[in-house]
Symmetry: C2
Subunit: 263 residues, 2 copies
């Protein structure tokens, strides 16, 4: 594959271009794009023309470029993410109807929590998650659930790193984090106040797939001080049980039935 002088492959440069259309700007001029990706204007222009040709980018009415619907179609048709969120959506609506707080579904990708669905509730807590957005694994309730049910080697790897302390409640010390993870496995849910944003509590439970592996985390985000765990956790566990069943999990578990694993 033809490589640029910088050694990046053409595909890698095309991906860099697509990646620049992040959450902040949905469309931009080619010169803004060029600055943002740190490539010469001529190179950026050439790559954009190729992406326009394949409709992975499109021009809007102002002549700026933006992600093309074709890219969304390619990514969504036949994607596991689409299947998972379509299966989970009715159960998420059930949770939202009962708990009346933001409800999210996320999975682990490249050691981050990737949010694949979010149902928002007007007038509810601050919600920093967004669909296709990421949060660090140790600093959100979904991440802690996904980490608690991960293989020990992966946990060791995460715990061995320098973890960012976002608030005074973020647990970063390895021994304390191990205790937190053991507690999550024992209870079958994570409930963590203010570990990334001071004013909110995240509550999350695991979703299982075939083979009894954890595939996702189901979560609600509640204003700090308004947690009603006795109501929220059963609602989340019931919905997670339903999603797990629909995904063909061998025997979805409620949490306390799952024996704590030594970490």
């Amino acid at each position: 594959m033809a490589n640029s002088r910088s050694g990046d492959s053409l595909l890698s440069r095309l991906v860099t271009i697509l990646d620049a259309f992040g959450s902040h700007r949905s469309s931009m001029t080619i010169s803004t794009l060029s600055r943002r990706v740190g490539m010469p204007l001529a190179t950026t222009h050439r790559l954009v023309l190729q992406l326009l040709d394949e409709r992975l980018l499109e021009r809007d009415a102002d002549g700026e470029v933006r992600l093309g619907i074709r890219l969304w179609e390619l990514a969504s048709r036949g994607s596991r993410t689409t299947d998972l969120r379509e299966i989970a959506l009715p159960f998420m609506e059930d949770v939202q109807a009962v708990v009346q707080q933001h409800t999210t579904l996320s999975l682990l990708d490249s050691e981050n929590v990737l949010y694949i669905e979010r149902l928002t509730t007007r007038g509810s807590a601050v919600n920093i998650t967004q669909i296709a957005g990421r949060l660090p694994i140790h600093a959100c309730s979904s991440g802690l659930v996904l980490l608690a049910y991960s293989p020990p080697e992966f946990q060791d790897d995460v715990l061995g790193r320098e973890l960012v302390r976002y608030t005074e409640h973020t647990v970063t010390e390895p021994a304390a984090l191990r205790r937190l993870l053991a507690g999550i496995r024992q209870l079958g849910h994570a409930s963590v106040p203010g570990i990334i944003v001071p004013d909110t509590t995240g509550i999350a439970v695991p979703v299982f797939e075939r083979g009894d592996r954890v595939i996702a985390a189901l979560n609600v985000i509640v204003p700090l001080g308004e947690e009603d765990l006795r109501a929220t956790v059963p609602a989340l566990k019931t919905a997670a049980h339903g999603i797990s069943r629909a995904l063909g999990a061998d025997r979805p578990r409620g949490g306390t039935s799952r024996m704590p694993r030594a970490v």
Copy 2:
């Protein structure tokens, strides 16, 4: 850009590979993929390695390849489709709660109807739509709505073509289709029984964006003979009005307030 002997650009061949992971198979071996895209095995293998490198494809537990979550993330973050469906979703849930039938949201792309969201109802009508799936513009209620509110040149273009007749109810004759479109604009909704599948009726209304342009169609799919237009159309129009307002439409219209345009 380096072109293959067949003259296709590298990017175009990469897109062909990604496109092969359609609705039928979510993962496959490289040799199946090679047959499916009609490229030599060595070429397919080389392209797959590049896509694996960028995580646009990933290997599953059986060693087969499938679309990578990274592709979904690239496409979804900062995509208008994600924004539109997130804005529309609560209103779609309202429709589904009242009408209790499959509810879809779609838009026009490359002269097809592309479904970007679908809420399904168990035990309801046959539903051939799927998320990121397409249907022909003249053979579904959403397509007819999108066509009815399209510029005259686009309508002429569609009407000038040989249109496929899927059932005895599919309207393909240009003059009859023009009358149908005029009726849709006058009423502000399309209600068409069995034009692509004999046993179902589609009912659809337009969704407007800023500048009073139609951006999407909101639709429900009802078993033939169980249509209750007096209840369904107001539910759809109310929800479409809400979505249009949330999208910043200047003054969302209910239908009859919109003057029929000569076609």
